[in-house]
């Protein structure tokens, strides 16, 4: 079944490659292409790394040990494949209107998938979806009013960055985009919004190194999509603190 899935994914990747002109690759197309490729790559790697030992497993203990060993081997070899990528793939495929829509991604995410991503899953989910405002409240010496002010300023800064980034991208002013990212970075770190911080770090790297407008546009889009989730988490965390 896995091999058949890979074949479907390869067809999907091929269809995406055929669907765009290399001169006019939109952000959406680039995103879809990247996701298709990553999903294919992930499953192919999994087949290569996991199939070797799968026939020998008998007891639960040895299965678990071998799974951990395989996970470590996989992560050492391919550290760049993390949960964010995986989650993006799953989310993407849930609303995917092509050949893959009939495939049950959750079903495909079997025990081995889970073990591969287990370690990173827990860490990333905590950092992405939950913001611990108690640390910041401590720095505010328990002043809820100041904490509210900081959240408001944070939201204002993020919105300002999103606006500025759009303008700088349109004018391909990478220096100013880098500066805007630099200015917001400390605030993102201060508010412990790690997901947004990581994106901004990537934007800065993109501005300094390859200066590829498509890649930067993609990163800015990621920021724009991530921000509402972070804002919601901040609001929830604030309400929770207020209730306590």
């Amino acid at each position: 079944m896995k091999t058949k899935n890979l074949l479907f994914q390869l067809s999907d990747l091929e269809s995406h490659l055929n669907n765009f002109s290399s001169e006019k690759l939109t952000t959406d197309e680039a995103f879809h292409l990247k996701i298709s490729f990553q999903h294919f790559k992930k499953n192919l790697l999994e087949m290569v790394f996991l199939s070797r030992e799968s026939n020998n497993d008998s007891s639960n203990d040895s299965q678990e040990k071998k799974s951990i060993a395989r996970t470590n081997e996989f992560e050492t070899a391919y550290p760049e494949i993390d949960l964010q990528t995986y989650e993006a793939i799953v989310e993407h495929h849930k609303s995917y209107g092509n050949v893959l829509k009939d495939l049950e991604i959750d079903a495909a995410m079997d025990e081995k998938d889970f073990l591969i991503f287990k370690g990173k899953t827990n860490d990333k989910q905590n950092s992405d979806n939950q913001i611990d405002l108690s640390i910041i409240l401590e720095e505010c010496m328990g002043e809820m009013g100041l904490l509210r002010e900081l959240i408001t300023l944070f939201i204002g800064n993020a919105l300002e960055f999103m606006g500025a980034a759009k303008i700088h991208l349109q004018s391909e002013d990478f220096e100013q985009l880098d500066f805007a990212a630099h200015k917001i970075k400390a605030g993102l770190a201060m508010m412990r919004t790690d997901g947004l911080h990581d994106i901004v770090v990537q934007i800065q790297k993109g501005c300094k190194i390859d200066q590829d407008p498509k890649h930067l546009e993609f990163l800015c889009k990621c920021f724009n999509e991530e921000f509402p989730k972070v804002k919601k988490s901040l609001d929830s965390a604030y309400v929770e603190l207020t209730n306590n």
């Binding site: 720095e139 100041l146 300023l153 944070f154 800064n157 630099h182 508010m191």
Partner: protein, 123 residues
Amino acid sequence: MTKKRLLLAEDDELLASLLNFRLKKGGYDVSHRANGKEVKEYLAGTMPDIIVSDIMMPYFSGMELIAYVRKELNSQIPIIIISSAGNEENVLNAFELGANDFISKPVSPSELLVRVARELNKN
């Protein structure tokens, strides 16, 4: 006992709000300025006991501020530089120009308070 005057030069309102609050709670008479132009105007009329300044500010950078205080105003008041551009070159430049201390962002307010007190106690 009179409060020590502290000039906080930081254009990031988010960080400035937190630092301003904590430094005031720490017993300092804090004046906050959000850009280099305002900093120069402030320094024309008042000499604080210590300056805490960001490096990247509009009009007048933290580096320029150090040079201005040391050379133009001929003052040796302590200057603590804060910046997320905490690379070796920036740190060395700041110290060469006469900065007394350097903190990388994100700044822990408690750490800043300790460093401010330490610099003031030296004098």
